[in-house]
Symmetry: C2
Subunit: 701 residues, 2 copies
Amino acid sequence: MSATARFAGLTPLLAPRSIAILGASNDATRIGGRPIAFMKAAGQFQGAIWPVNPNRTEVQGLPAYPSVAALPETPDAAIIAVPAALAEQAVEDLGARGTKAAVMFTAGFAEVDAAGEAAQARMVASARKHGMRLLGPNCLGVFDGRTGYYATFSSSFDSGWPVPGRIGIASQSGAYGTHLYTLARNRGIGASLCIMTGNEADVTVGECIGWLAENPEVDVIAAYIEGIREAPGLIAAFEAARAARKPIVMMKVGRSALGSAAAKSHTASIAGDDAVTEAVMAEFGVHRARTSEEMLDIAQTATRRIYPAGNTLGMITLSGGAGVLVSDVAEQLGLAMPPMPEQAQARLKGLVSFCAPRNPVDATAQVGNDLALLEPFYESVLRDGGYASVLGFFTMVASSRRWPSMLEVLNRVRARYPDRLHVLSAIAPAEVTRAMEADGWVCHEDPSRAVTAIAAMGRFGAAFAAPAPAPAPSVPPVSLPAATPSEAAAKQLLSAAGIACAPEAACADPAAAVAAAERFGFPVVMKILSPDILHKSEIGGVLLDVADAAAVRAGFATLLDRARAHAPTARIEGVLVAKQLKGGVECILGIHRDPVFGPIAMFGLGGVFVEVLKDVVFRRCPFGADVAETMIRSIRGFPLLDGARGRARADIKALAAMLARLSAFAVAAGPRLASVDLNPVFAMPEGQGAFAADAVVEVAP
Amino acid sequence: MSATARFAGLTPLLAPRSIAILGASNDATRIGGRPIAFMKAAGQFQGAIWPVNPNRTEVQGLPAYPSVAALPETPDAAIIAVPAALAEQAVEDLGARGTKAAVMFTAGFAEVDAAGEAAQARMVASARKHGMRLLGPNCLGVFDGRTGYYATFSSSFDSGWPVPGRIGIASQSGAYGTHLYTLARNRGIGASLCIMTGNEADVTVGECIGWLAENPEVDVIAAYIEGIREAPGLIAAFEAARAARKPIVMMKVGRSALGSAAAKSHTASIAGDDAVTEAVMAEFGVHRARTSEEMLDIAQTATRRIYPAGNTLGMITLSGGAGVLVSDVAEQLGLAMPPMPEQAQARLKGLVSFCAPRNPVDATAQVGNDLALLEPFYESVLRDGGYASVLGFFTMVASSRRWPSMLEVLNRVRARYPDRLHVLSAIAPAEVTRAMEADGWVCHEDPSRAVTAIAAMGRFGAAFAAPAPAPAPSVPPVSLPAATPSEAAAKQLLSAAGIACAPEAACADPAAAVAAAERFGFPVVMKILSPDILHKSEIGGVLLDVADAAAVRAGFATLLDRARAHAPTARIEGVLVAKQLKGGVECILGIHRDPVFGPIAMFGLGGVFVEVLKDVVFRRCPFGADVAETMIRSIRGFPLLDGARGRARADIKALAAMLARLSAFAVAAGPRLASVDLNPVFAMPEGQGAFAADAVVEVAP
């Protein structure tokens, strides 16, 4: 790890050269005894292990020290396993001694009550004063099966030691983190390193992800998160992982109202807004897994390090049934399964007349029975089909006596195409599957799970290969008023940032009105302009569809006549001429401030789309027009902007430019900007722009 | 099985007392050798096994017969494993001999080409002439691990024999059927019986499901389907299963365009319309599984035979993290997790002050360490919480040394609540998990999968407990014209069936117009009525919002004046008075004819909902108003009918009545009715009815 790495500060915590255990116990089943017992049993830890216990001179066969001050050297890290009442002093002692990191198992702080929260805050202050990082409190710690570092009291090792491997796990929940780790280990998936952050008083899961991203021993990161507490660490971690081409697979729970409530009752977590976290994950190509199984499937497949940016799937099967299923799943996930070239299909038909060679390539059972046919079929799918990923469905044939000789053929072909993702859907004894996986195959019994994992590799590849997004547009400095401005003032603020509001002009005489109308283009709307006439349409004070200069002049006279007739005493300032927005699609653009991620932009279509269907998309601000256009294209109702139902196609470029400018405005406006609502925005037909017809800019006091 | 059972005709096929093997081979690895080898090796088949082979007197140690005619008795069933060229004769020989059933492995028929299709049709005709049922051709056959009947050449048994159990599998795909069976067996899930229908020239998967529904040895049915070929068998099967309270878990593949194409290239399957098949499954409470894993999880859980109609989930966990995840999944699946009663929460807080007793009940790790606490916690969730289903999250604790004593406590409590569904999310060695399952627990490592299975039990319960739906409304006989009628004639046909079209009347004089308007209720629309004036609105020939009798009289005069002024020579027949449909919600009601399931009703909201969002629901015709209302309430846009965005709530009862009448009309109209489109239908505010404003009835020539 380079010295300039952003997250190198966690190295004493996550890979220390020496460790003290405060509250060290001679009893290997107690939380203060387990880490020592684990490190001794595993026997790999190269550093010093220093038990601290004022009542013993020896703990589990190791010399014990009465206090932190009495330690022979300053430890890189320390485990705090003392009762809550002693924890604050332990932090202070360690900090004073110059220890760089502490792992605090001790519970009873922010997760319990306000007094605990206050104590936790004091410990963090103490640690920071001394430049010490603190993992926890109320955490299950960290372990690294590769180095034999076990700063944890997890009971996972009752059933076995970590399987060496290149997946790193970071989890806020200790129980779920070790659950994942245990599932992985039982499946033979190598996940050596596992970090659990508990209360996150100091060290956050985001920073741990960042450290894993910078760790050359780790290729893939699996994370379990309930709520994000700080954005910069997480964003930097996501950036580091993407730069290093390391996929992140993440479960983010607490997405439901019920789940959020459960999260809040648990380890004092800020669940945050799930949709915003999801948007941030999508921004960086982080895969959101819905189940631990999906997470491990994808993490395991990712350890092959084949991430095809333009993923395609070819399938070879000995029976048609699974081909239908796989086609369904691939289509649902947007994974292309283009057909084999016609010539190749004809060639395969020449080998087995009743095969179905299109893709899925149903080679039929005959190919299972005649090994001489298997090689040309598999080869053809790779060579002629040219698919980035190939799935072979061999089901229980992989449990049969024929399998070793079939696998030999498949291996021979695979060796000729090492850049492809070779996946088998096969039912084989566990030891056979393990051997195939060790040999470079990806194996999934369930073809649906195989396709899900394959599709994820393509999305990782696309995220890694994506060009840097365009910069956000630059907007002039924004000077917010002291309080929420009027609509007119809001429109002025936005207009200054280049956000087009429906053009309108106050015109004192017919010539000015004609000039304004000609500037806007016809037709226009004309409205009587008087501070004394509030309900203009009731007195006939609004004219629509004013089509030319003559009509503007006539309209000016008509409006003044009507105003004088209905309200003889009203002050008449003239006429408001506005561009008539007709034939546009109503959209909603907005900004709200997320407590963690700051200003967040929203885009949706107006009316039922937002209010009934919640068909909206979010993105962290600021961003450029390319990102904005991707957002616009991602909503379900996009066809309405794209010419569905015989409409004109909307000016998507202008809409995207407005959304990008709004995102830059939100950042430029600073933290006092609470929200912006542009509702409706009219996306006019192509080439005619997009205009906010109404605007609210909410300013925090 | 009772003699009156609908599907008893398949008993000779699926549970024969004697079996002949045509094309019997002495080579136990060939398709004509495998069934004999399997039945001999398993050694359980109680009936006679008669190899037929003109070239041998003995096959695999059994006396062989030169021909069907030479058999000592008529076999109940026969396996046909002869080359395609001999298959037709084999069918004829067996039929002539009086054999009741044949399982045809032989391929090369409808799945290959037109000649094969013709040969297949001849075989079916021959079998039907003799009253013989035919499974296949091109099928992997059937086996029953309980009776030792192996009319299959599946290679599944290379890796083990069936696990006895009460799940029956029916699959169109042989490979996927045995894939499922093998996955089940490897997980220790008892699925003794497995039927694979191949080309379905005669026996369909629907009938097989029906036979399983009537079989007292089967509790749960798992089915894999690519396309349904005939409806009555499947519907009767679904009805039989529901009547017997046997859950059906079904994978229906070919839902995507790609999957459909793959299905069509495979075993000549008619993929049919996936949405229609899904609607039929929903009608009968059949669970549609998306993966084989989900299918087996649910089938296995269902073997507990606990199907709570009003399902609720209580969760007990030793850590909070999984509780958040489970809450998310439950909410997404609509599975209620009501909180524990306040008093019970207080009591649990009294036991462990820092526990989170709401639900999920996070008992904390302390309860894992102190067995005396586990019993009152688990008991309280069952007794005080009263949940129909309880999930315990014990993760790798179930792999620890503490587990046997913890399980003892859990078993003690479980025994007191035998009517509840007790589920464990636990990571334990396979043999421990098997033992717990044998003892009555449902075990899933993954909590998400556990919740999915629990939710499915509730849906089965709700389907079993649902009252019989209301009968479809009766409509008078429908006499369709020879060809597609005009809109007016279509509206007359529909009106006769009680489907309200926007009421309109041709009125020759003002008095008639007033009478019509008063009949319809105000306001009304008035339109000039003349065969010579096509574009009425262009000459001011349409009046909206005509609010009272005086206005009708005035309007009548105005319209006639305008008509005469603009078109002095036009023949004026009077004025059309129509109820003005305003303030209603636009809907679309339709009928189309599915090639398999006959007339299918569709309901959706007008505009973007149908065209862009595909927000529609389907149902087999006919049905009553209760079903129609459920359909209406099921679409995503339903809030628009239910008063969203400040609208009046729509007359859902009237809309449901119209939809039900339309379904009855579709059946009454008979097979010449190709389609009906009522678009738009205005669902008026509550109490004001629903009216079709436009109607197309398409009649097939």
